[in-house]
């Protein structure tokens, strides 16, 4: 094999791949940490199988319902194809906010709402179940933002309120006890009409190691209200929106 061929090929591969984000290692560690409870014990396989069966049944029911009632968004009538998932933000976002567009948005982010830098944000759910069951909470870091994804297995919750929080000490909803998160400032996410103990068995205290979102911790899961406190290393702009299939509440914290 010609050394020139190998050298040229590797040069091209270098151009394609670049170098990984310095946060990749921390991101993977965080993902492993969050997955820890899910892999312990022999019940994991049974749980997965039950989940799959439930997902198939729910999927069939949803598709059947979708075809009956939502024929206007069949693939042939869908909006212009896009490389990014469609995002929906509630119109109830506070009008007094001063949106500041993200600097360095990637094309796939172009359909997402702008970041806001002050005040509360509300997201009203559509076609909400009586209680939306959280079944996964994930974090990730990307160029421009750290992301929290809260996944629901049966639809959007009734309402979500997000607001900046002074300091990183939060009062736990049911017990009244105070917890202090890592970071210098915080953000409070209140999910109304949701439950995080029926379908969710992951971590409720996630330390990410990211540049801005450093920790998130469940501070309430009681009587249909779920609250998460976010510990941030500095004040940051943020945005929240829903993605579908499956339903996910996405919270992006600007990190640049």
């Amino acid at each position: 094999m010609s050394q020139n061929f190998r050298r040229d090929l590797n040069k091209e591969f270098d151009a394609i791949s670049g170098t990984p984000s310095p946060a990749l290692s921390a991101r993977v560690r965080s993902a492993l940490e969050q997955d820890r409870p899910a892999r312990t014990g022999p019940f994991w396989m049974a749980g997965l199988a039950a989940g799959l069966i439930a997902a198939i049944v729910v999927g069939v029911l949803v598709v059947a319902s979708f075809n009956r009632h939502q024929t206007s968004i069949l693939p042939g009538t869908a909006p212009t194809p896009s490389a990014s998932p469609s995002a929906r933000q509630s119109p109830s976002q506070s009008p007094s906010l001063t949106p500041s567009p993200s600097p360095a948005q990637t094309p796939s982010d172009s359909n997402l709402p702008a970041f806001v830098c002050a005040g509360p944000v509300s997201l009203a759910g559509t076609q909400t179940p009586a209680v939306a069951f959280v079944d996964a909470v994930r974090t990730g870091t990307h160029a421009g933002y750290d992301r929290v994804t809260i996944e629901f297995n049966n639809g959007e919750p009734a309402n979500v309120d997000m607001s900046p929080h002074a300091g990183t000490t939060f009062t736990q909803g049911a017990s009244g006890q105070q917890v202090t998160l890592q970071g210098s400032t915080g953000m409070l996410v209140i999910i109304h009409g949701a439950d995080e103990h029926t379908a969710y068995s992951g971590s409720i205290d996630i330390k990410t190691g990211y540049s801005v979102l450093v920790e998130l911790r469940q501070v309430e899961d009681f009587e249909g209200t779920v609250q998460w406190g976010l510990g941030l290393s500095k004040t940051a702009c943020y945005r929240a929106f829903y993605l579908t299939n499956p339903v996910r509440l996405v919270i992006d914290i600007q990190n640049s």
């Binding site: 094999m1 040229d8 040069k11 091209e12 591969f13 990984p20 290692s25």
Partner: protein, 180 residues
């Protein structure tokens, strides 16, 4: 005495198999860079590549008991999971296109062999992710042939054939003997 103590101490892979996430994270940390490079070339999308590596890491963690062999087997096993995750990513994102723009990025316009490089770049862009995979493993990550074979889950001779077939699509005058 010391050797007896050492023998009794569980290896990192044993600790990881018993549920120690930190041990597993330490084991795969050196593999994240090659895993990312493999995923980035397969997907032509750097952000998606990092997502794929994260997902693959979690899947590897969940299925660590399926690893046959010791730590020396870990790299090929992990990279095969990353490659599979890349395939799944492409299936999930059926609407996505191969981002040839990424392939075109970072190009340098100087140098005597620019034309040849441009041809090579175009030829790479025409390869499917599964055709790129053996090239990445063998040439870019510099894995020995038997490890390429374990990653691809084929025999060494089949791995050699795949490398050769893919490389021939980039350089038509290549001979099988040159893939040694």
């Amino acid at each position: 005495m010391m050797s007896a103590v050492m023998e009794q101490r569980p290896s990192a892979i044993q600790r990881a198999t018993e549920g120690d996430a930190d041990s597993f994270a330490m084991l795969i940390d050196p593999l994240l860079n090659p895993a990312y490079r493999l995923a980035a070339v397969m997907l032509s999308d750097r952000m998606a590549a990092e997502d794929a590596v994260q997902e693959a890491s979690v899947k590897a963690w969940r299925n660590l008991r399926q690893l046959r062999g010791d730590e020396s087997s870990l790299r090929a096993w992990f990279l095969s999971i990353v490659a599979n995750e890349c395939r799944m990513t492409r299936r999930r994102r059926w609407w996505s296109v191969v981002k040839s723009a990424d392939v075109e990025s970072d190009r340098r316009t100087d140098g005597p062999s620019q034309e040849a490089l441009t041809d090579l770049r175009r030829a790479i862009a025409r390869l499917s992710p599964d055709e790129r995979l053996p090239l990445v493993l063998y040439f870019y990550l510099d894995l020995p042939l038997d490890e390429v074979a374990r990653t691809l889950r084929v025999s060494p001779s089949a791995a050699k054939s795949r490398i050769y077939r893919a490389a021939r699509r980039l350089r038509s005058d290549l001979t099988l003997e040159e893939v040694s």
